[in-house]
Symmetry: D2
Subunit: 405 residues, 4 copies
């Protein structure tokens, strides 16, 4: 168990040891001083790895301000960053109203570039601070659940900024989503409950990158995995990967553990809840409480806290259902989040996205942009080499052959 | 062991049993008679599964003519199709020159729609029969190695037809490439050699869909897999999947078995060959002999056939290297090819691509088209249901939630 | 596909290439001439690997005579061995009666040492040739299904020979049963049917070493595996390994493919057969047709041969059931059997068991003996080193520490 | 993260929910009152699951006294048990000397039956309290590292008690060692370090049940696993399971993470430590600090605590080596230990072993006894059924067939 009272600074230093990619990029950025004169706002899950991005951007010359919602804030890291002189708009004990207020103050510092998570600050800015949005260069978005509303905004003509969808980069979703979130959600479940998955029926709702990772690790630990999907191609892929595939409504009576990995609201409904077997667990992997029917659950009457991060509810049918972390992202809320090396990739992509925005986005049209391919290739190459791997070069002869018909 | 003298008709019937998707689509097409009046040319690996596509298109009203190169032709199937009255331009004992002649005769029948493999007939038609190309409605292409030159042709303004890149459909590449080709190449190796992979170092060159499948099945059978890549993202993915990743030139001295899964010419060079350990095996997975340095090998002096489909060469360094199937696609040349269910998917996509071309392509511009998403969804859904699976429906509430920002 | 008309001698030489353990042992034995003056009878599945044991024992000075039942005989190997001057009592086209006669002639040569499979010759000798048994030094038994009756005979006072239970050695059952038979049965199924296992429910009856191997490889290929057991510990192990565990009678309605891996008579009964879904497959892995209700099946009326090695029966309930290889061992009957490296281990154990019997068994009491531990360690060590592995030595300090209390 | 300040009683109740086997056995024992009048001493890792064994034995009529060494004691559980009226000889802050004193006081209560872990109390009793040993009925031993010295004592004629080696039962070692300890050690490493294993070289020293579990879970999480063994059969098994196998001394320069899973003193030596790469981690899986060269490490000069449970040492060669939990069992010291369901099996075996000792051991000779097979079968059967599984019954016909020869 991690003793979360250990000092924030020590934990930031620990993370730094295993972030070779960010270290290498930071060395170049700080030599070049490429971000001098810019104010960059970081609104990401606030834990030791993120703090290293903050430090890297500062070393590159930027003024960095930091924001985070209460449920994703590690107060030790807040203290550590403040101790280093950063302005941090985050408080792990803030109420919902206080959280919005903190986001407003963060925006009011006047950002040039924003790194956002779930597009929540971007959306707030568009709703309440159009004049500040007008002055911004651009933003970078970290998650699937943030990219979706940004695209809707753009289709509806409401988006006023160029936003790099860092999440949609293969270097992000492959490693962060499959290996990072997938692994850390399964481990968080084991950690929180002290149970094993062997011999249990686990229903994974959604077979995107996160669901794929959850299914793989759960199966490796002996679970009998059932996948539920709305998309036939993904469903078929799950079947070929060796899982039972069935509609969640059919699978629910066997679902001893549910991981919702859809990133979509209402993935789990009251009908599903009422069909679960006695003692079942509901967990959100990667997304947020919006995937769970929390209103319905709260309406069931008093829950009992049976264990840290585990509440028990009694369904209409008289069965017990356990909800982890109030339906919130399992791995964000209850552990140190993604493994350090995974965040090294994601945060390095963010660092380079910020650099690219700083240098080029001044004349980009508003819209949702792919992360440039050269950035993800650079990050992947540094990571591979740091782990002792090497690439085969493409020969001229192969290059020519590929052009012949 | 399959007794390949067993009757072609019997083997076609056997395949039909396990092709529920094509069966279901064929029922609709034949009721509608949608292809009446069209001449459709099928130029695919000619084995029992393909014969079922031929039958399905005929039942839909088309006149179907068939072509195949010698190395991919199963003569029993040729006889069986001829026995049912089809014109078949294929001979498993044809020379290279005879093969080209067969392709010409096939084209000269005057096709409306062509289903091609490797774009070889499409290219021949563009080179030698521009007037016939002008009369064609369109084509559908089955493989990665065919889509690549078609795109080059289109960039260079040389392509005169709309071509549906069936290969680029998720319903094709996920199942055919990863599960089909990946599995059947590994099994063909075991079958041909009677060896095991456990305890052997296997180098997989190329970590695309085919390479991913080969690596997965080889590892499941106990091989210690090393992946070589030219692309950093793919390389990093291989590393996260648990494989050693290194440049082929570095890995070659340990490469007891090499699977080239690049689809690119010259993936394996003479330098690689000379670095292999004594007794190594060279196999091409999914692609063709162009991936192997066959000229160099032939220049090494007389090879010895040490076993059906296995030739031994003595390298300059005096070591023995075994080449499977003269460097040609391991699973095409030496076994019955992909599992029936996998081809059921691919050939069903082809059937629907032909239907779509027939109904709509008359006014499409020349170019390389994605397979329409509704086609791949329909195929995947039928397959899933045939295997007893079911899909969770998307609710209105979820649909709305996905549009909110 | 293996061309079984390729010459026996060539295939024996091919196997020899990948049998480093037997080669190394044979070098020592032939230098020492340790078996001079003895007549050794080999009654094992007669294929190229076995032929190499025959050669090794001859080189060690023994006169070797060979026997095999029709269904396990590769006639090319018979011809090849005869061409080298061996007496071979085997004919792949023999009737059951002729097979018994061949076994009698084999015994009548007057054996000093017998290497047996399934204890069939040992039992025949005890029933019909007590005077020849009295002159024998001992025997070595290859399989689980042979060791069981030998132990019963010994309990009942009927066994007159010392028999080394080579099968019960970890070096045999771990590698031959899990990895060899497990892998080759799954591959033989795919090869015979051209189907895939992904998406199919596979029931493995019996979770001993063979069943464990079958389940592992089937799952790796995407099957949804259900294990049936009579023993609670094995059943629980299967559950922890991630499989569904249920009584075969409950699982039968979902059993698209059945692998019987029990080594026990009547593992599959008529009740099971009548509960199978339409189109199901019945296969025996490792054992013999005695596991299957062949009488019941034959009584169902005329079967149809739908494919080489596959017969279809119509059950009372009107469903089709496919039986592979007449219920006989899937991998023995339809492919080249276990991988060469696996048989290298088993046959090397046999070679050393014969040597040990020759030197020491003259004064052993009748009974079933474990293979001496030093033999299995020697074989394992040579194999490991041949594959490039190495062992950590036990230090004196560790040895002392292990004796302290 | 588990908040270890949450109440001991709550955590005991949580564990009870997932211990169906102990619950069922406890119901029978308490109805029968089978342990009335006996004093039973429990000396096991003192955490919530163990507390449930204490409660079950009390309900069966025994007077239960409890002991545990400081490093394995969860003080909240101590308080909770004391609150229920138990005598508990354990203090998580005790010094080594105080620990021995607590063990003496525990023994001086005058035990009829002892449940021991590592044989430490049994050995102390034989050394210092022969008169109390003479009055005892017997003991049950939980671990591999305890059974070994007991067997040595028995060989040397020093053992004065019948001891049931619960550890040597398949129902214990399969599930507790492979699945329980294997899984929890890998997870504890990830938890303590916040790192991932993907892309790292992990050396597993010892391929017994624990090592097998560690290797399997590490590989499933993407590690490249190298196994070191002293035994050739185990080494070969590891090779067939797909791992690199080499002597630890050869593998050490690549060993980014070392899991020692030998149960043997001095498994890791100073030579190994000096060969490790910079930043390597040393962990003990299942055993204790005796596997690690702690004296050598302490002699290297001041270690730095870089993170809770992680100390960094500078080797003679100037490299950093991280030691987890002072070399002590990774999963005991830093997490809640084995999953609840795994301990449900082990502790149920203990409950039945105590019952068997109580009823029958009065006239057993001193010695190390196997756990009776009927006990492990009963436990496995209850567990399987609790998870919804079922067993196929053995038919009379199969039973007869198994006796024929």
């Amino acid at each position: 168990m991690i003793d979360i009272t250990s000092s924030g600074a020590e934990r930031i230093a620990w993370a730094a040891r295993s972030m070779p990619v960010l270290r290498k990029i930071s060395e170049r950025l700080s030599t070049e001083g490429s971000l001098a004169g810019l104010r960059v706002g970081i609104s990401l899950v606030l834990e030791p790895k993120t703090a290293n991005l903050v430090l890297a951007l500062r070393d590159a010359g930027a003024e960095v301000v930091v924001h985070c919602g209460a449920s994703s804030t590690d107060q030790n890291v807040v203290e550590a960053l403040r101790g280093m002189g950063f302005r941090v708009f985050a408080d792990s004990s803030a109420s919902d109203a206080e959280d919005v207020q903190l986001a407003r103050e963060f925006l009011e510092t006047g950002l040039d570039i924003l790194v956002d998570d779930g597009a929540s600050v971007t959306r707030l800015a568009h709703r309440e601070y159009p004049e500040l949005v007008a002055k911004m260069i651009g933003a970078a978005e970290e998650t699937t659940s943030g990219v979706r509303p940004l695209k809707v905004m753009h289709e509806e003509g409401a988006l006023r900024l160029p936003v790099i969808a860092v999440n949609d980069s293969a270097a992000k979703y492959l490693f962060d989503n499959i290996y990072g979130t997938g692994q850390s959600c399964v481990l968080a479940f084991l950690d929180i409950t002290n149970l094993q998955l062997a011999g249990r029926h686990v229903v994974v709702v959604g077979y995107g990158w996160v669901g794929m990772g959850v299914a793989r690790f759960a199966a490796a630990l002996g679970a009998r995995v059932i996948v539920s999907e709305i998309d036939p191609i993904r469903a078929l892929r799950a079947m070929h990967d060796g899982y039972e595939v069935m509609a969640f409504r059919e699978a629910a009576p066997r679902a001893e553990v549910v991981f919702s990995a859809t990133g979509l609201a209402d993935a789990v409904t009251e009908e599903h809840v009422e069909a679960l077997p006695d003692g079942a667990f509901l967990c959100t992997a990667g997304g947020g409480a919006f995937e769970m029917p929390m209103e319905y659950l709260y309406g069931l009457g008093r829950s009992r806290s049976v264990r840290p991060a585990v509440d028990a509810y009694t369904t209409r049918g008289g069965r017990t259902v356990h909800v982890i972390s109030d339906g919130d992202c399992l791995n964000c809320a209850d552990a140190e989040g993604n493994p350090i090396e995974v965040m090294d990739l994601s945060l390095s992509l963010q660092a380079l996205a910020v650099e690219r925005l700083a240098h080029e986005a001044a004349d980009w049209e508003p819209g949702v942009y792919d992360l440039p391919v050269d950035i993800e290739n650079e990050v992947a190459r540094i990571r591979l080499e740091a782990a002792g791997g090497s690439l085969e070069p493409l020969t001229d002869r192969q290059r020519e052959a590929a052009r012949a018909w």
